[in-house]
Structures are given as structure tokens and as C-alpha cells.
Symmetry: C2
Subunit: 157 residues, 2 copies
């Protein structure tokens, strides 16, 4: 694996990671009604850090393989939408409309998993935890919308 | 050019584009002191739409070329950081700290331009307006920080 490529993909992940620091859950999130399968707070940074390392490894693997067009296009889509979701949900408190970022994110991660597997077994495998995690995240997002129908978006002055 | 790839890269751009709709400049931006070279408001959506179309074309071109590893890794980095900047600047009003997104974005677009030119002349050329625009955007960001030293970040309740 080309380490420079690995770090370049990790830098791409750091844009999404930065949104977690810039838009922390905080007191508002604590007040939300949550479904029974909500992971504990500590699991989120652990899961995301693991995922960022794994998909940077995956990106660096497929980047040097011929025929990587769709794999890296899907990789770029997940980079954009994983950076978009947090500002919508935690920044603007758009519990429902953040699904417009979550849905493309889920599809992009599914696309990544399939196309990475087609090129390289280990790269595909490295996307499986991400696919599992965004599936949980999408279910959480839907459940929180259904459980908190009257929670308004943030009013910005 | 593979049209499906073009649209996949355009979807990646739409994550960044959505931040412009979710975090519009509004009254706060109007109150900021701005440098003489600030483009008129209408120029921003026009410029970004043009850039998204051009770099989706560029991505689709280099995605099918062998040796595209660095070009598409840089493409993913710009996808992440172009989605990050708007929520920091317009969402949290972090006039200074949004430079921590602008600086990697500028470097990523420079990296894209160089690596796309190495693979394909037209793909490289398609990144030149983006490089010019983020250079202006970075200069604007720095100038607005210097001209508005006392404007506080948004206080979130």
C-alpha cells in the first residue's frame, strides 16, 4: 500500500471528522427521544475513527488498481455526504431533512463496498464495517425523526 | 466520457452545493466589512455551478485513465473540504477558523489541477477556473478575517 495515498484519503476523511468536532451533539441531542438501539455516546468517535482508517486503506488499495473509476467516484461521493450530514443534523437540527444527506451517503457506501470488492477483496472487506455503521446511523436518523416529530430546526438569528 | 461517471462526480459536488442552500449568507454576511475584490453575490452560485460541471467532467475523464491514483485522491479531498467550509463560515460564523478548511481545500485543488494535467490536458484545464476561484475565495476569507476582527462566532443555544 502507498502510504502517501493512504494519508491523502485520511485527509479527505478528516473533513467529515472535523464536522463532529465543530458541531458536537451537546445538550440538544440529550433531550431527543432515542430508539432502543442507539449506541452509547463513546461508540461514535471510536466507530468513525476506525472507519476512516479502514476506508483510507481501502482507497489506497483500489487507487493503484486498473478499472477503479466507479470505486473512486463512489469514494468521493461518500466523502462529500459524510461531511454534509453532521452540519445538517447537529448544526441546523434538521432531524428529518438530514435524511437527504443520509440516503445518498448510504447508497454511496453500498456502491463503495460493491465496487471495492470487485477490485480487491481486502478493500471491499474494509468497507463492510462502514456499511454496517451507516445502516445503523440511517435507522437511527429515521427513528429519531419519528420519535421527535415536534422538535423544531434551529432558528438562526 | 462516461456519462454515468460524470453524474456520479456531480452528485459528489452536490453535497458541497447543498451547504450553500442550507447555510445561506443572509443578513449576517451583509454586515461584514469586505475587501474591494469581493465578487457580487450573484457570481457565487454561477461560479460554483460552472466549477461543479467542469470538475465532474474532469473526474470522469481521469477516472478511466491508468495511473489516476493521486488525481482521484485529491478529487476526494476537495469534495470533503469544499463541503466543510460553508458550515464553518456561514453556519458557525468562524471567520478565522474556517481557514482550517480553506487551506486544505486550496492545496487539494492545486493538487487536482497538477495531477489532472499530468493525465489529461482537458481534465487539467477544467480545474483551472476552480483553482482561480478558490484563490480568490481564500484571499476573501483572509481579508474578511482581518477586516472583521471583532465579529464573534455564532453562539448556539
Amino acid at each position: 500500500m502507498d502510504t502517501t495515498l493512504f494519508f491523502l484519503f485520511l485527509i479527505a476523511c478528516s473533513a467529515a471528522g472535523a464536522t463532529g468536532a465543530a458541531f458536537p451533539p451537546g445538550a440538544w441531542y440529550d433531550t431527543l427521544r432515542k430508539p432502543w438501539f442507539t449506541p452509547p455516546d463513546w461508540a461514535f468517535p471510536v466507530a468513525w475513527t476506525t472507519i476512516y482508517l479502514l476506508i483510507s486503506f481501502a482507497g489506497a488499495r483500489v487507487a493503484v488498481v486498473e478499472g477503479n473509476a466507479y470505486a473512486l467516484a463512489f469514494w468521493a461521493v461518500q466523502a462529500g455526504f459524510s461531511t454534509l450530514w453532521t452540519p445538517l443534523f447537529f448544526g441546523l437540527r434538521l432531524i428529518r431533512n438530514s435524511l437527504f444527506a443520509m440516503a445518498p451517503l448510504w447508497l454511496a457506501v453500498l456502491g463503495c463496498t460493491v465496487t471495492h470488492f470487485q477490485l480487491d477483496f481486502w478493500a471491499g472487506l474494509a468497507f463492510v464495517p462502514y456499511l454496517a455503521w451507516v445502516t445503523v446511523a440511517a435507522a437511527l436518523n429515521v427513528a429519531m425523526w419519528r420519535l421527535n416529530p415536534d422538535v423544531p430546526p434551529l432558528r438562526r438569528s
